[in-house]
């Protein structure tokens, strides 16, 4: 009986294993192998072992794209935390009815392609756009702000695209929290701020970290936002990789860039976990 049951279980997870092997592990290994190969004619690849691709990453142009990517990721993630943590926290305190409504409001944007929504920001941010129009009508501005095709525009786009992930992660961990713990802390002599930092913050930390990872990693790669809202001023690793794959036709070099990016982000996650001692990342790891 028991054997049968475990075999049934095996059958149900089999597609998952198959999928993981074929579409995650396979391509990953292929990409790593590719990063040590050499570019041939056109898009072809010559399979001889070399470290040239990795050496090439050391060139200032490419190094610069890594630096810019990290800067942007840190800035956006930082701002997303400041906006998203209180949002998710207070959302968990709402009545069930309002929780549902807020959830719907968060989900609605996902019904439209994120690419299209980014173009929407152009309409808002451009010189004669909605934002400048409103600010000038209100008399706050005399001259239109040049936000579009600048660093702030890219940051706004990043925040807009990734905020929901952090909000939801914080919300899910704040929702599980027993609010009577806060009362206990107050009862034991803690003022509101002390109670928040010794109890609430600690207990929602796993959610916050999940949220940070869910925003930090994509923000390293969401190059299309930088392309659409940043003009050509901000070149992210993602753009470079894309460029090498398409116009550059240098697949091995693109693979090397991707491997380095992956290693760096994985390191970041390790550092996070070491610093915060959080083991349970809301089911992420």
């Amino acid at each position: 009986m028991k054997k049968k049951k475990s075999f049934g279980l095996f059958l149900t997870v089999l597609p998952l294993y198959f999928f993981t092997l074929c579409f995650v592990l396979g391509p990953l290994l292929y990409m790593i192998a590719l990063s040590f190969a050499t570019r041939g004619d056109g898009s072809s690849v010559v399979w001889n072992f070399t470290l040239d691709n990795y050496r090439k990453i050391g060139e200032p142009v490419y190094l610069q794209s890594f630096v810019q990517s990290f800067q942007l990721a840190f800035t956006s993630t930082g701002l997303i935390i400041l906006l998203g943590y209180p949002f998710g926290y207070y959302m968990a305190k709402l009545s069930p009815k309002w929780k549902k409504r807020m959830m719907l409001l968060i989900m609605v944007p996902f019904w439209t392609s994120s690419l299209i929504r980014m173009y929407g920001w152009i309409i808002i941010l451009q010189a004669k756009g909605v934002l400048n129009g409103i600010l000038m009508k209100l008399g706050i501005l005399e001259e239109p702000l040049k936000i579009l095709y600048s660093y702030p525009a890219v940051v706004i786009g990043m925040i807009y695209a990734l905020l929901p992930f952090l909000v939801l992660a914080v919300y899910s961990s704040a929702e599980k929290m027993d609010w009577s713990l806060l009362e206990a802390a107050r009862d034991l002599g803690a003022n509101g701020i002390q109670a928040f930092f010794t109890v609430t913050f600690k207990l929602t930390l796993p959610g916050l970290l999940t949220g940070i990872i869910l925003t930090f990693i994509p923000s390293m790669g969401l190059f299309f936002i930088a392309d659409i809202l940043g003009g050509n001023k901000i070149v992210l690793v993602g753009s470079v990789i894309q460029d090498q794959l398409t116009r550059g036709s240098n697949w091995p070099f693109a693979a090397a860039l991707a491997v380095v990016l992956m290693v760096l982000t994985s390191l970041m996650i390790l550092v996070y976990r070491k610093v915060t001692h959080v083991k349970d990342l809301e089911g992420l790891f």
Partner: protein, 359 residues
């Protein structure tokens, strides 16, 4: 007992349309073990939360040692609470949980360690310092919760049904334990329960609450043997309530006419002959006689044997239902049998008299 510790003055509270507390006035003496006894929803937890500062009353005042603390937040009252669900911090070990209050007060580390150790000894949890709450049994969590509150040496300790989640045997042990702690430390305990046995076992005084009001305040003996209202008699003593008419009033006893029978009961103040009266007779004091001419005529409707006790359900001629309990089996009593219900005069206590429970 030396003087007043806490005073509640006409506390009123409502949640939306429902009045949860309808004017609670009460004073608690220093060093006393006071229990709020009442069914769920009677407002006892709300009263406790108002005393703790976790809830604000719409009206009324809370005075701690004569000082008005009604508007003070919980962290600025010398009152600590043992919560119903323990509310232990899941991310802190036992040591950190117990030491929380002292850490917040920024006491020196050595002092915290020493006092935590004392507390662990007091609640008999030595060696559990590094355990996490999730690794503790219900009884152990309970002890940690008590230690965490007591370490702050509060003037008043509030306990909200602290033994509710424990099994019967453990509950008995913890009752004794809590009483021992209270005596040893001399801290005033305000205890909440819906369990009359618990209340009677532990308290110096019991406050019976009902629908946001105080029904009766008194020692366990007063509450149990001399209930003032039918509600208290029923809730605390599982008493039968029998209606009759006062016939004759004596020094210590009164005669009451019930179903044309003359029965005797305890005398109470403010009684007049010819008036209606309600008598409370506890189940174990109601005797079922299969012979004789005295007592109320009744028919046995049901009989069950539970926990060493025989419960006999009776129906009077008026249709009123009574229950009599006694130890041991009695084969002579069978359903359908005509019997007589008898009690000793001192076991029939007039309730719901003119004088309502003092507010």
């Amino acid at each position: 007992m030396s003087g007043e510790l806490l005073e509640l003055k006409n506390i009123k509270k409502n949640f939306g349309e429902t009045d949860v507390l309808k004017g609670i006035t009460l004073s608690i003496q220093k060093g006393e073990f006071l229990t709020f006894l009442g069914a769920s929803g009677c407002g006892k937890t709300t009263t406790l939360r108002i005393i703790a500062g976790l809830e604000a009353p719409e009206e009324g005042q809370v005075l701690l040692e004569g000082k008005d603390v009604t508007d003070l937040p919980p962290n600025r009252r010398d009152i600590n609470t043992v919560f119903q669900n323990y509310a232990l911090f899941p991310h802190m070990n036992v040591e950190a949980n117990i030491g929380y209050g002292l850490r917040i007060k920024k006491r020196p580390k050595a002092e915290i360690r020493g006092r935590v150790k004392n507390m662990l000894e007091l609640v008999q949890l030595e060696g559990y310092e590094k355990r996490m709450p999730a690794e503790l049994s219900g009884g152990q969590k309970q002890r940690v919760a008590i230690a965490r509150a007591l370490i702050n040496s509060p003037k008043l300790l509030l306990l909200d049904e602290p033994l509710g989640a424990l099994d019967l045997k453990l509950r008995r042990t913890m009752q004794t334990e809590l009483k021992r702690l209270q005596k040893k430390l001399g801290i005033t305990f305000l205890y909440i329960t819906h369990d009359q046995e618990e209340a009677i076992n532990m308290s110096d005084r019991i406050v019976v609450m009902r629908e946001g009001m105080l029904e009766q305040i008194g020692t366990p003996d007063e509450i149990y043997n001399h209930p003032k209202t039918a509600y208290v008699a029923d809730f605390v003593g599982n008493a039968n309530i029998i209606e009759g008419v006062v016939e004759e009033i004596g020094e210590e006893k009164i005669r009451v006419q019930i179903q044309g029978q003359r029965m005797e009961a305890e005398a109470a103040e403010g009684m007049k002959a010819g008036e209606k009266v309600k008598l409370a007779v506890r189940r174990e004091n109601l005797q079922v006689c299969t012979e004789g001419e005295n007592g109320l005529e009744a028919v046995v409707t049901d009989k069950s044997f539970q926990g060493g006790q025989l419960h006999v359900a009776l129906q009077l001629k008026t249709g009123e239902e009574l229950v009599a309990s006694r130890y041991g089996m009695d084969a002579r009593i069978v359903p359908g049998q005509k019997v007589r219900a008898v009690w000793k005069p001192e076991h029939a206590v007039p309730v719901d008299g003119k004088q309502e429970a003092e507010a």
